[in-house]
């Protein structure tokens, strides 16, 4: 039963504007299509988005009534982009938050259409949990197993930056590129991170997670990220949602930043619990 938690992002760097006039496209390496699943089903456990400069409304459809209500507008989400003290100051706004979720099924293709103001950048990211994704045995733990193996705690700097193209992922940066203190042979459970500048999405990727992305928002509303994966696990107590890797693989843990602003440098400090033994379960 190989399970996985996968992050995807769709964006448009400059909208034409108008009522549901724009459609977001998947970022490089990401997809709007639900892969073939042994169980046939997965669920989007978290979704967030942003318009860089104005309010916006996003309609999520996928053409299957078992998932979203209808194929016309499906689930509509407003983005109060100007709420946080000025246009574009939120960087990420919640759309689907735990314990709510959205079912998705094999072969479905998500579609995001957007009502926005011309020349805005709009992006949406979401985490999908697959109970049985063939070819993947992603390394995730729950809080109980992390606590049972806990040794010390560490915060490690990684200066990944966003692309010059709004909404796109920037260059990958290894978890040990700016801070090499990971210890080979030790296991690290990433419970969250902190940033200096809020950003829309931070992605982690590595072979221990099937080379699929997972990640989280770090916008104004969601900037309480120090315990993000731990909090996610609390909201889904029966799921293992805390990513784990071995210190030997720190160079293969790649961070990427996507933001509605260009070239954002959030200065990520990864917060991890060092474990003597592998806390991954499932």
């Amino acid at each position: 039963m190989p399970r996985a938690v996968v992050l995807n992002t769709a964006s448009k760097s400059s909208t034409t504007g108008g009522t549901f006039a724009d459609t977001l496209t998947a970022n490089s390496g990401d997809t709007l299509t639900i892969p073939n699943l042994q169980s046939g089903q997965g669920k989007i456990v978290s979704m967030w988005g942003i318009d860089s400069a104005s309010v916006a409304e996003i309609a999520l459809t996928d053409g299957r009534v078992e998932s979203v209500h209808d194929p016309q507008y499906g689930v509509r989400f407003n983005l109060p982009a100007t709420a946080g003290g000025g246009a574009g100051k939120n960087y990420a706004l919640p759309m689907i938050t735990p314990p709510n979720y959205l079912d998705v099924f094999t072969g479905d293709t998500l579609a995001f259409t957007v009502t926005s103001t011309a020349a805005d950048a709009v992006m949406v990211s979401w985490l999908t949990e697959y109970q049985d994704l063939p070819g993947v045995q992603a390394s995730f733990a729950n809080w109980q197993s992390v606590m049972a193996n806990r040794f010390t705690e560490i915060g490690v700097a990684c200066n990944a930056v966003a692309s010059g193209t709004k909404g796109a992922y920037g260059a990958t940066r290894a978890a040990n590129a700016d801070d090499t203190r990971w210890t080979g042979g030790r296991w690290y459970a990433i419970i969250g991170f902190t940033v200096q500048l809020p950003v829309t999405t931070i992605s982690f990727k590595g072979p221990m997670w099937g080379n699929f992305r997972f990640g989280l928002p770090a916008g104004l509303v969601t900037v309480d990220t120090a315990n993000y994966f731990l909090d996610l696990n609390r909201l889904y107590p029966n799921e293992a949602l805390i990513p784990v890797f071995n210190g030997y693989d720190a160079g293969s843990v790649l961070l990427e930043v996507a933001d509605a602003a260009a070239s954002t440098s959030p200065k990520v400090d990864i917060i991890a619990v060092e474990c003597k033994n592998n806390p991954a379960v499932g």
Partner: protein
């Protein structure tokens, strides 16, 4: 009576770029720092007031969003100026008579009309009794 200690404060803005964020001389340097552009607009833009020589920030925003707005405003001003210029300039003559002086057109048009009347092309159809 107010008890303001400072009045007439000067509102100013400044760009605070991210340290080490370029501009870069080549793609290799930019890539080493994680940027995919040679001259990234990084850091923040602070708007604040100067009080006895001290800058006190009121609001801070990502610099790239501020400069996006400046670029957009410049583009809109250019577009508006171009549109105004286009409205003030008489439309250029087009078609087969392009380049013909108005005086010549006036002398040609009656002749053409007369010719058409002679050939009956513009005559309404006569009703048959």
């Amino acid at each position: 009576m107010t008890d303001y200690t400072h009045t007439g404060l000067e509102l100013v803005g400044r760009h605070v770029p991210d340290p080490g964020a370029g501009p870069f001389d080549n793609a290799q340097q930019a890539s080493a720092m994680g940027y995919d552009t040679l001259n990234p607009v990084s850091g923040t833009y602070e708007i604040g007031v100067v009080i006895e020589g001290a800058f006190v920030p009121i609001v801070s925003e990502k610099a790239s969003l501020i400069f996006d707005r400046i670029d957009s405003a410049k583009q809109q001003a250019q577009d508006a100026a171009a549109q105004q210029t286009a409205q003030q300039t008489p439309p250029a003559a087009t078609g087969p008579q392009a380049g013909v002086q108005p005086t010549e057109q006036q002398s040609v048009e009656p002749a053409a009309e007369q010719s058409a009347m002679q050939t009956g092309e513009q005559q309404p159809p006569q009703q048959q009794g």
